[in-house]
Subunit: 284 residues, 4 copies
C-alpha cells in the first residue's frame, strides 16, 4: 500500500499534533498522500486537499485520527471500496481506533514494511419499508438502533426472524448490532461481547424490556430480521451507526440482515481484540 | 368513610361498565358520591359532577377506575390531603390498581364494613435549581426519570448523595424511584423489587450505563440526592411520574429526597403485595 | 435412513407409552429396529436388544425418548459416528428433545419420507493437563463447567484466549458453552441465546463474578481457551455436559476449543429454533 | 470507651506490624488492653492474653485487624453484647474493615477523643426446622446462603414470605442478605447495593435462577421468610455468614427474619459508606 489519505477530527486538539507528525513522516519518506480537505486547509496543506470522492478513488489506505465516532462516521464514505482504514485514537483508547498516538510512527513503519493484517468486518444492511415501498436503506458497521423518544411511552416492538414472530415486547427500544457493535451501545444495554475479528453474527439486544426474561440473542448474518414498532402516537426513530435518524411510523417495516459489503480495517499484529477489551474494561 | 368520589379513565371501554356498576351500588345503598366532572357528563350524571377541588374538599375516599397510569396521574391532585385512594384495574392487573373489576362490589362492601387497610406510601420530592434559583419542584409517587433524547449522545451524569460525589457516569439516564416505583420503569432498567407497603427507601437505578459495574442502590429517604447532567448540547429532560417534562441544562441541579407528604392507598386485606407480584410476573 | 434404534429414559412413565407406540409403528411398517438393551428388557423386546456398540455399528438413526438430560447423556456414545439423533420429549419441551410425544407418528412418517433436516451441531473439546501431561479429555455438546464447591470460597480463575491472559477474576465459576449449550446453564448465569443451528462459536459465561463488569463473551471455535483455577485449598471440579466430574488442582490447565467432531441431529422442518425459544420462554 | 481488646488475623503478615503499632500506642497512652490469646502468644504479650469470654466481659471496644472475613467471623462472638467493633483492614479495603492501616493511630486518637460514631447494624436470625423441631439457629451479619453442591443438579426452591408462597423456582441457590451483606456475595449474584448505615431491610437474591424473570427483592425485617429446598437426592447446605454449614434435607424448613440483636460498629466520621463503595468499585 503506497498512497495514504488522512482523515482527522480537528475538534480534538491532540489530533492536530498527531496529524502533523504523520505528515512529517510521509514527507520524510517522500510518500504521496492526501488529506481530507477541511483538515488540509486547517493544517495549511492545501496542495494535499482531497474530498471523500478523490480519497476513495486514489488512496491505497486511510488513516483516521480521532475517536471511534470519527472512525464510524468516516467509514461510511468507503463502503463498497476495499480501501482499508487504520484508526489512531486521540483521547481514550477505542475499539476501532486502537492504535495509540505514541505508536503512530511505529504503525506507519509497519504498514510500510507490509507488517499488518487486514480484517474484513461484517456490516449490517437495513431497509425501511412503508406501504411496501422502500423509503430508506443504509449500512451499519456498529448497529441499527430503535429508541423511544423520552416524551413517548414504552414502545411495542414486534421482532420477526425469517418471517417468524419471535418476540413481541414492550420496552425502550432495540439494538441490532454487528460483532463490531457488540462493544458499543449494546454492551451498555446488557449485551455480550463478540469477537468481531472472527465471528460473523447479528446480535439482538433489547433496551430496558418490560418483559424481564428477554435475553440478548446471537443469530446468523444469513437470517433476516423484520421489525415493526408501535408507540402511543409519538414518533419513533431508527438510526444506523448514530448517523441520520429516520422516523418510523406504525405499519413501517425495518428489515435487517448481514450486508453484502464488508469494511476493511488495518490491524497491527501486536494488538489483539482481547488486549483492547482488557484495557477498556480494566480486566486482567 | 362515607362519601366516595369516582375518577374514571373513559378511554377504556370497560371502565364505563365498571363505573355504572359502582354508581348503581352507591344508589342502592343510598350513599352520597361524586364523579369527576368529565366522566360525570359522559355518564349522564351531571348532578354528581365535581372538579378535583371539590373532590378534594368533600370526598372521604376516592375510587379510581383505570390503569396504573390513571391512578398515578390522578393521585397528584390529592397530595397533601389524606384522602385514601382505591384503584380498580381495567385491563391488566396493576400494582396501584390491584382490585379486579369483578371484585368491585366486594371491595365497596368491604370499605362499607370498615374491612380495609390504609397504606401510607412514601413519595419523593424533587427540586430543580438553575443558577441557585428553584425553578421547579414536584412530588413523585413512582419515580423521577432523567432520560436521554434519542437524538443526543450518552449523558454525563454526576450523582451526589449528601453532598458527596458518589458516581460520575455516562449512560442513557437515571431513575430515582420510591418503593412504589420499584415495580415500574426501574424494573425494566434492572432494579430490584422493593416491598412498598413496608419499606421506606429511595432506589437509584442507572439506565444503560456505559460503566458496566454500576448497580442499583437503595438508600434512605432521609438522604439527599443531587444530580447534575451534561450532554452534547442537546436538551435533556427530567420528569416526575411521567407527567410534565422539564428541560435540564448543564449547570442545573436536581435535588431529590423523601417527601414530607405520603399518599394514602386503600388496600383490601385479602391481597398482599406479593400476590400482585406473583400474578404480574408469573412466578409461583 | 432405514434402521432405527430406540433409546428410552424409562424413569419417566410417559416414555414407556411413547416407546410402545414407536415399536408398534416400526412393526406395522415392517421396519428393522433396535432397542437399547436395558429398555428392551423392560419393554419385553429382548430380540431387539442392543448395546451402544451395536447401535453405533448398525443403526441408521437413533430416536431418544426422554428429556434433554437423556439426549445429552446418550449423545456421547455416538460422537465420531455420523448417526443422526432425534429427540422426543417426555415431560417438558426441551431444546434437544423438541418433538412432542403427540407428534411421534408424524415424525416417524416424515423421516420415512425423507422429509427432515440434519443439523450438524458444533461440539467443544476439552483437555485437562497436569504437570504438562494430559490426564483427561472429553467432548461437550452443551458446556464445560467449572464450579465452586459450596464449602470453598470464591475461586480465582485465569482465562487465557490464544495464550493471552484475557481475564483474571474471582467468582463461583465459569461456563464454556457451545451455541447448543447457550440455552442451558449459561442462560441462568446471564448468557445470551445463540442460534445453534446457524452459528459456530464458543460462549464464555462467568458465574457470579466478583468483578461486576465482566460480561459473557462470544469467540470463535478456532480460538483456544486455557483456564487455570485456584481456590483456598479445597477441591474444584470441572465437568463436561454434567457427566463425569474431574478434580482440578492448582497448576492444572484446562484447554477448550471447538471440536473436530460434530453431532448430527434430526430436525423436522416445521419447527425452528425460535419456535422452541418462544415456547420455553413464553415470549411472543 | 477505655479498655480495648485486639483481635488479629496473624495469617496476614501486615497484621503483625499493625498490631505492634497498636500495642505501642496503648502502652504509650498507658491504657489497659487485652489481646485475643492466640495472637497474644504469637506477639509475645502473654500477660494481655484473653479468650473471647474474657474479652466480652471486660472490653469496652474491640479492634479487629484483618479482612472482612476476620471481622465477620469474630463478630459472632459478640452478638448480644453491645461492645462496638472497629475494623482495620490489612490487604484490600473492606466494607467492614474500612480503616486503612496508615490511619490506625488517627483512629485510636479519635476514639480516645470520643470522636466516632456507633452504627447499629441489623442482623438476620435463622432457624432450621426438621419435622417441626428446631435443629439449628444462627445469626447472620451478612447473609444466609443456600447453595447447590456442584455434584447435584439445580435445586428446587420454594420461597414463602409471611406464609405466602411467593416463588417456586429452580436454580443454583438463594441468598438472604442484610443491608451489610448487600455488598458481599449478593452483589456478585446481581443484587443491589443497600446503604447498611441507614436502611433496615432483608434482601433476597436468587443465584443463577432458571426462571429468567426473577429479580432481587427488598423486604422488611419484620417479615418472615420461609424456605423449602428440594434437590435430586444430593445434600444441600445452608450457611450463615460463611461459617458452619448445615445440611438441608427435603421437608426441612428454614425461617429467616430480622434479628432482635444488632451489632455495634465503630465508624470514623470522615468515611461514609459511599466513600468505601466508590473506592471498592472504582466509581467516581
Amino acid at each position: 500500500m503506497d498512497k495514504a489519505a488522512l482523515i482527522i477530527n480537528l475538534d480534538k486538539k491532540e489530533a492536530f499534533t498527531v496529524a502533523e507528525r504523520a505528515i512529517e513522516w510521509f514527507k520524510n519518506k517522500d510518500k504521496k498522500f492526501l488529506i481530507e480537505k477541511r483538515a488540509a486547509f486547517q493544517l495549511d496543506q492545501k496542495q494535499r486537499a482531497a474530498d471523500y470522492q478523490k480519497i476513495k478513488r486514489e488512496a491505497d489506505y486511510i488513516i483516521i485520527i480521532g475517536g471511534d465516532g470519527t472512525f464510524l462516521h468516516s467509514s461510511h464514505h468507503f463502503i463498497g471500496s476495499e480501501i482499508p482504514l487504520l484508526g489512531i485514537n486521540v483521547g481514550h483508547l477505542g475499539f476501532l481506533t486502537d492504535v495509540e498516538t505514541e505508536e503512530l510512527t511505529k504503525a506507519l513503519e509497519m504498514i510500510d514494511n507490509n507488517n499488518y493484517n487486514i480484517e474484513k468486518r461484517m456490516m449490517l444492511q437495513t431497509e425501511h419499508y412503508r406501504s411496501e415501498k422502500k423509503i430508506n436503506s443504509s449500512y451499519a458497521l456498529n448497529d441499527y438502533v430503535i429508541n423511544r423518544d423520552p416524551d413517548s411511552q414504552m414502545l411495542k416492538i414486534e421482532l420477526y426472524i425469517n418471517n417468524e414472530l419471535v418476540n413481541n415486547f414492550r420496552g425502550d427500544g432495540l439494538i441490532i448490532a454487528s460483532p463490531t457493535g457488540s462493544t458499543a451501545y449494546s454492551l451498555s444495554a446488557g449485551g455480550p461481547i463478540i469477537n468481531p475479528r472472527q465471528i460473523k453474527a447479528i446480535l439482538i439486544t433489547p433496551i430496558c424490556p418490560h418483559n424481564l426474561h428477554l435475553r440478548p440473542m446471537v443469530i446468523s448474518p444469513e437470517e433476516r430480521i423484520r421489525i415493526r414498532v408501535d408507540s402511543d402516537g409519538r414518533s419513533v426513530k431508527g438510526c444506523a451507526d448514530g448517523r441520520q435518524k429516520n422516523e418510523i411510523i406504525p405499519g413501517d417495516e425495518i428489515y435487517i440482515s448481514g450486508a453484502d459489503q464488508e469494511l476493511s480495517i488495518i490491524k497491527l499484529p501486536d494488538r489483539t481484540f482481547y488486549t483492547t477489551v482488557k484495557e477498556k474494561m480494566h480486566l486482567a
